[in-house]
């Protein structure tokens, strides 16, 4: 049995927000708790640390708002890799593998899990480098399959429904003013007539009124 690995996230970054990532249950994380231990499904603790540091350079937390760490992007990626996506359950992956034009997309043999394992290893001691050197290192890998994937997954982890482990506390949706999967503003129109108004975002679970799970939870 594989020893359980965890990633420690500073609670100040997740402070007071709902974290939907612990054991499939929403947990309110308080800033006072210091750090929160999130069990990992695919990454080792060291890998998760590297991935988190890289995501943070792709979508940093800065004066323009929170970033990948606050949103829990690494948890989103960890879950996707542990699930059917990570092992290419639904991608046609029989040989022979042939190179093709870019518009055909990735045609290779390696699964997302394998691409990450290899890519993270290549990053080495990334998480211990100063920010400028981290950027330099990422820039040198910019055109690799691994980096393109990491960039795409960072955006997905920022802005997908929190049921998938990222977008903690709807932080990504608040950042871009996305209202969530609402069907209509009908109930609000008369209340706010003539006033500038933006709805507080809601998750799918909040809209439907019960817990929802993503396809990454699918059993083998």
């Amino acid at each position: 049995v594989k020893r359980r690995e965890f990633i420690l996230l500073p609670a100040s970054s997740l402070g007071g927000v709902l974290l939907y990532t612990l054991a499939r249950e929403p947990v309110r994380v308080q800033a006072q708790t210091g750090a929160v231990k999130v069990p990992l499904r695919f990454f080792t603790a060291a890998e998760a640390r590297t991935v988190q540091a890289a995501c943070e350079r792709i979508f940093p937390s800065d004066e323009n708002g929170p970033g990948a760490t606050e949103a829990g992007v690494v948890i989103f990626i960890d879950r996707q890799l542990a699930g059917p996506y990570g092992r290419d359950k639904y991608r046609y992956s029989k040989p022979p593998f042939v190179d093709s034009v870019p518009e055909h997309g990735y045609q290779g043999k390696a699964s997302p899990r394998e691409i990450y394992r290899e890519g993270v290893q290549q990053l080495g001691n990334f998480a211990d480098l100063p920010p400028a050197e981290r950027d330099q290192k990422l820039r040198s890998t910019e055109n690799t399959t691994f980096f393109r994937m990491l960039r795409q997954h960072t955006i997905e982890g920022m802005f997908s429904d929190p049921m998938h482990g990222g977008n903690a506390g709807l932080i990504g949706w608040q950042l871009i003013g996305y209202p969530g999967p609402l069907m209509s503003y009908r109930d609000e129109i008369d209340k706010n007539h003539g006033q500038p108004w933006r709805r507080k975002p809601v998750s799918l679970a909040q809209v439907v009124g019960h817990q929802v799970t993503g396809w990454e939870e699918e059993k083998e």
Partner: protein
């Protein structure tokens, strides 16, 4: 204007030159600023029924039962390329003509036409179409354009023709 693609697919598109790469602080700043200010126009064209475009059984790849996959063979010809070039040109014209060219509003200092789609300063000029919308939502606006046009026609026939001049 949003691309109407939702928060993931719609994120990260920025005009050329706004950031040096497509990740990092500079890109994030531009992507957030442009998030609901970018739009895409796309078109669908057709491949004619050429003899060289066909489906057959793949000689190499099989499904999980060992049966051949379907293989699609499709080659672009000069016709499709010319079609693409023409559509791109038309898209540019569409972009210039769509939403926001003669916006409808409640006052002449902030809009071009009044709610009857009548020009504020030239009462004998009526502008119907999507140009009346200050911006376009993601939904299809055709029925709304038709409804506004019917209303403009009512105003023109029932009010303007009886007493020419600004209706408001």
């Amino acid at each position: 204007m949003s691309t109407g693609e939702g928060p993931i697919a719609g994120f990260g598109a920025i005009p050329p030159g706004e950031a040096k790469s497509d990740w990092g602080a500079e890109w994030k700043k531009a992507a957030l600023a442009w998030h609901d200010r970018v739009a895409a126009i796309s078109s669908e064209a057709e491949h004619l029924a050429y003899r060289q475009n066909y489906v057959d059984l793949d000689p190499t790849y099989t499904d999980k039962y060992g049966d051949p996959l379907i293989r699609l063979t499709l080659d672009w010809t000069e016709h499709e390329r010319a079609q693409g070039a023409m559509v791109t040109k038309i898209q540019g014209q569409l972009a210039a003509a769509m939403g926001g060219r003669a916006i409808m509003g409640t006052a002449p200092d902030s809009s071009v036409v009044n709610p009857w789609l009548q020009h504020w300063h030239a009462p004998n000029l009526w502008v119907v179409g999507g140009s009346a919308f200050p911006q376009n939502g993601s939904g299809n606006p055709t029925l709304t354009i038709l409804a506004l046009t019917l209303r403009a026609a009512d105003g023109l026939i029932d009010r303007y023709l009886k007493r020419p001049g600004g209706l408001l």
